[in-house]
């Protein structure tokens, strides 16, 4: 099995292919303001939509009354004939199914739930009309606290259920026996706050009905056009052939754009009903109130360890606040399924027990945010590891070295049967400790021990299972299971290369990295490669861009299709040069055999326009190939990272300053190290948001309390310290080039590392933080000992 991490990304020999720091092909249009995003699409006769949304978290909807004037431009659930609501059933046993109406019918279940839609020439006029719609509610007690959602006296969201639980799971792997021998038992209650993903561009849709083609075109700011097409066709009762979904330039996704929205279904229906283009551009207020939420987990976690720090067993009860509905396609239970299976992470242990509850509350449906449950479980396991270390008076790095999987154990199947493909976790930890200079920092920390600003260092180490496929997602029960990924490679008559992929690039730099992969196989300059993506009419079916899967899956598919195309190019070129096909080498746009050479452009021209010159046995499928790809095993690539951070904590203000931040990252073979850096940095910024700032509180009536960006605090440039990224490069034995999915990694580690650093800083005071975000108020409360468990104001 492949091992031995390489030291430096600079070993790349190619300047354009795999391993090259090729400048992003996307940047030119983005930096010049030439991107075309959903709100840039203007069509003749287009109407703007504005939704009337529920002001209540939980209420019976008695009636919705249209205004006497303009009422013909107002539509309610009663108008939506032949439209089905959104259902996303988990395949796991015991799942309770919810139906999310397109427009509310008899009940509303979260603030912001749409109950009517209004149309006008401008958004402002549509909002004017929306103000005139009258809705009559009977308010019901709201389920606002996931910890009490299961109480007998709590009202039911879905009245045909017997409790507010989408799914309960339990796993027990030799727990009792392993725990019995423990010298120390450490238990904590830990929480991560509800967040709202905040791509710079919100959601949006432009729907157009072509009555002659009977084709509904949905332009949508989405990460997964094919899945939207499938979901939308189902809700509207259309054939797939009647629906085309186009994702234009998309301004960030992070999972927020990985769901089918009721608003999209509504737009599709309206476009057909009115035979006019309609659009809905989400604004930040509806995004923050009624839009997706994420991350809200509560853990009661207990670690059992031997006196030498050996981790014997972990016991965990986790509650995930799944909100009101199971959203399509990921369902309400992906997070809890992940929690149970990935909590042990890269640590060896003999016993493990985990129970999870995906509870329903009067909040928007939970969605998988970059990192999905990994951010929460990393927080839980890494904080408990540090707590054990403090109990045993061990250094955080020492207890981790004691328990991390070693390279000699690779490939490694951990206690939950996660198959780690490759890597050297202890080495990543060692490099992080060295880079942040833990010994030197300990001296500085000692000197600050009497001041009002205390210093601390924190670590987190974790894996990111990425590009995992059929068996894993089937096991997690989600209604959309990925299989083979396909790509088409097509040589154009001028010798250019067109790649068609079903995934969608909205910040992943796939227009660059997939071109690099194609170059590796065909020798065609990336500047001559055009990536066609984000359009169901042009691309092979794909579950889309999520789960850190693109560079492995779409990359593998592009390599496979490009390789087939390359062979056909070589065959034709061989004939033109009168050389043996296996003697032909493709490089820099040329086919060469010995001293002979012919351009790939000439090969293309021959196939398309001068077929009289082709060999008799030429492959009639021509210079276009569609190939499917799966990894050697579909258990996923395991990239991993160690985050190390030093902080100062102001005891008077509860303010945390990040002093230094190091990330040792192993992405396997890097297709483009610059793109990997970008992914890691962007993710880390979001992880810092989770750690320090982002929180969507709800009051006891289920009202969201951060409905503008003045109250919902995102990390800004000034909050992000210089982050030093050190690469290791252990190829995955499972993927085409050894590459591993890396897209979510940066967002996983920061909450754990930063909270551990704060706890290190405050350890001398006997203070421990257990919840993120670590707002000044929360840190001060911990310091003043005034109750650390209160999160809901």
């Amino acid at each position: 099995m492949t091992r031995a991490p390489a030291d430096s990304p600079e070993k790349a020999t190619s300047t354009k292919g795999v391993g090259a720091r090729l400048a992003r092909r996307e940047d030119d249009r983005y930096l010049r303001g030439r991107g075309r995003f959903i709100a840039d699409i203007r069509l003749p006769g287009m109407l703007d939509m504005a939704f009337v949304r529920s002001p209540y978290a939980h209420a019976r909807l008695r009636s919705v009354t249209k205004p006497p004037s303009g009422g013909e431009w107002v539509f309610t659930a009663a108008d939506l004939e032949d439209v089905s609501g959104i259902r996303a059933d988990s395949g796991l046993p015991g799942f309770r199914s919810s139906l999310q109406p397109i427009l509310a019918t008899d009940k509303v279940r979260h603030v912001g739930e749409p109950l009517a839609v209004c149309l006008a020439e401008t958004r402002a006029a549509a909002e004017d009309l929306a103000e005139l719609v009258d809705a009559d509610f009977e308010e019901l007690p709201a389920v606002h606290d996931m910890m009490r959602a299961r109480d007998a006296e709590t009202p039911l969201l879905h009245e045909h259920w017997d409790e507010n639980v989408f799914l309960e799971t339990a796993v027990d792997i030799g727990f009792e026996d392993a725990a019995a021998g423990a010298a120390v038992v450490v238990k904590r209650e830990l929480r991560t706050a509800r967040q709202c993903m905040a791509p710079i561009e919100g959601r949006g849709v432009v729907a157009v009905w072509d009555r002659s083609l009977e084709l509904l075109t949905i332009h949508s700011a989405t990460q997964m056009p094919h899945i939207v097409r499938t979901g939308l066709a189902g809700c509207l009762g259309l054939d797939h052939g009647q629906v085309r979904v186009v994702a234009p330039d998309v301004g960030g996704g992070f999972g927020y754009k990985g769901i089918l929205l009721a608003e999209e279904v509504c737009a599709g229906w309206l476009a057909m009903k009115l035979d006019r283009p309609v659009r809905w551009i989400e604004d930040r207020r509806e995004h923050l109130t009624g839009g997706a939420n994420c991350r809200e987990h509560a853990y009661t976690i207990t670690a059992y360890a031997a006196a030498d720090g050996e981790l014997l067993a972990v016991d965990c009860e986790a509650i995930v606040d799944s909100g009101a509905y199971s959203s399509y396609p990921f369902s309400a239970c992906l997070e809890s399924a992940q929690v149970a299976s990935i909590l042990p992470g890269p640590y060896r242990m003999k016993g493990y027990r985990c129970r999870t509850w995906s509870v329903a509350t009067n909040k928007p449906p939970i969605l998988p945010f970059r990192g999905v449950a990994r951010t929460g479980v990393c927080f839980a396991i890494e904080l408990i590891i540090d707590a054990v270390a403090r109990d045993l008076k061990m250094a955080p790095e020492a207890i981790r070295q004691r328990n991390l999987v070693t390279p000699e154990e690779m490939p490694f199947s951990n206690i939950t049967k996660k198959d780690f493909d490759s890597g050297d976790y202890p080495e990543a930890l060692r490099r992080a400790v060295e880079a942040i200079d833990v010994p030197g920092f300990r001296e500085r920390q000692q000197r600050a021990q009497t001041g009002r600003k205390r210093l601390g260092v924190g670590l987190s180490i974790f894996c990111e299972q990425g590009a995992h496929g059929t068996s894993v997602y089937h096991g997690w029960g989600i209604p959309m299971v990925p299989g083979f990924e396909q790509a088409t490679a097509r040589l154009t008559p001028d010798g250019g290369l067109e790649l068609r992929v079903g995934v969608q690039s909205h910040g992943q730099s796939l227009e660059t990295t997939l071109a690099q992969i194609a170059y590796e196989e065909t020798g065609i300059d990336p500047a001559k490669v055009k990536l066609v993506h984000g359009d169901t009419a042009y691309t092979p079916y794909s579950t889309g861009t999520w789960g850190s899967r693109c560079i492995v899956m779409a990359g593998g598919a592009v390599a496979a299709a490009s390789a087939v195309l390359a062979q056909r190019i070589r065959n034709i070129a061989a004939h033109l040069m009168q050389a043996a096909p296996d003697s032909v080498v493709l490089s820099d746009g040329m086919a060469r055999a010995g001293t002979s050479a012919v351009s790939i452009e000439e090969v293309a021209r021959t196939w398309y326009l001068k077929p009289q010159l082709l060999p008799d046995d030429v492959d009639p499928r021509g210079l276009e190939a569609t190939e499917g790809y799966k990894t050697v095993k579909d258990t996923g690539t395991f990239s991993y990272a160690c985050h190390a951070v030093t902080v100062s904590v102001d005891l008077d203000l509860g303010h945390i300053e990040l002093l230094d931040y190091v990330i040792v990252e192993d992405a396997g073979t890097m297709i483009n190290p610059m793109v990997v850096d970008g992914q890691v940095l962007g993710g880390a910024a979001q992880g810092i948001g989770t750690a320090l700032y982002e929180e969507m509180p709800f009051d006891s009536a289920g009202q969201p309390l951060a409905s503008t960006l003045a109250d919902y605090h995102l990390p800004v440039a000034a909050d992000i310290p210089p982050i030093r990224i050190l690469h290791m490069e252990t190829p995955s034995p499972l993927s085409r080039f050894g590459q591993k999915g890396i897209g979510e990694s940066g967002a996983i580690g920061p909450p754990a590392a930063i909270a551990n650093a704060v706890n290190d800083a405050l350890a001398a005071l006997g203070v421990e933080v257990t919840e993120v975000p670590l707002t000044p108020e929360r840190v001060l409360r911990a310091i003043h000992g005034a109750g650390m468990r209160e999160t809901q104001p």
Binding site: A124, D652, A710, P776
Partner: protein
């Protein structure tokens, strides 16, 4: 998030603006950094906006031996960049430079901020702390109010209908005067969670300690001299000034006052 329908007019002169505002359903607007978002959320729904940004008296600067008079429509950025005189030798510039972020400072105005009277805003506490004077024009002519009387509560001022804040007179500190302004905003661009100013101007015989971001108008503490000379602790001063507030809610304000006092002690006088 689009505003309800409204009319917009640019006032030609002060008298015209006053006339338009006297009609009652209009609101004056300058930088539009607070009113604009409120209108977008439809929390404010004026029938008409009267743009007073370009009115001459609101753009004027006047310097005397005792003070500098800054027009109300002067932007934070103009103060930050030193495009208008700073009588304090840099205290105003430094306060301006830390208001929100640059995009807000480019449009937001001194007068607009004071009239909005957000308890956590910078100018409310800084101008109160410096003992500045609001110059108000209205149907009855001009009047002057000390800043502490101009701001009457959270988002409340002493302006009557038809009155416009046209300028702020900032007194020149005496030789050797010391100043401390300290605010706690965990993130750039945020409003302060706590703020305090300390002015120790022995030449003019003025000492003043003020606390901002309390959800009310700035609080001027009694007996500032005892805080400045250290004979009374900030905790005692806050406790006696705000007896109804639990101590833990004052922790950040206590830190702000303590650090403003430290800053004032360390501060070199600009005119020394």
């Amino acid at each position: 998030m689009k505003p309800a329908p409204f009319d917009y007019a640019v006032a030609g002169d002060l008298a015209e603006a006053a006339r338009q505002l006297a009609e009652g359903s209009a609101k004056p607007v300058a930088g539009n950094q607070s009113l604009g978002p409120m209108m977008n959320l439809r929390l404010a729904r004026p029938a008409q906006l009267i743009d007073i940004t370009a009115l001459a008296p609101l753009r004027a600067v006047e310097e005397t031996a005792a003070f500098v008079r800054l027009g109300a429509a002067i932007t934070h950025a103009e103060i930050e960049d030193g495009e208008v005189p700073d009588p304090t030798g840099g205290w105003l510039r430094s306060a301006a430079a830390n208001i929100a972020y640059r995009a807000v400072r480019n449009r937001g105005t001194l007068g607009g901020s004071l009239c909005h009277a957000d308890p956590a805003a910078d100018w409310a506490i800084v101008m109160t702390g410096l003992g500045a004077t609001a110059v108000i024009a209205g149907p009855e002519g001009e009047r002057r109010l000390p800043l502490e009387d101009f701001i009457t509560g959270p988002f409340k001022t002493a302006l009557h209908d038809g009155e416009i804040l046209i300028a702020v007179e900032v007194p020149r500190p005496g030789t050797g005067a010391r100043w401390g302004y300290w605010k706690f905003a965990p993130q750039v661009g945020e409003f302060a969670k706590a703020s305090a100013t300390v002015l120790n101007d022995a030449t003019r015989g003025i000492q003043r300690c003020a606390i901002g971001a309390l959800g009310r108008r700035p609080l001027i503490l009694d007996a500032p001299g005892s805080l400045i000379d250290g004979s009374r602790t900030p905790a005692e001063a806050l406790r006696s000034a705000l007896p109804d507030r639990p101590a833990e809610t004052l922790a950040l304000h206590l830190a702000a006052l303590t650090r403003a006092l430290e800053t004032a002690r360390a501060e070199e006088s600009p005119s020394a």
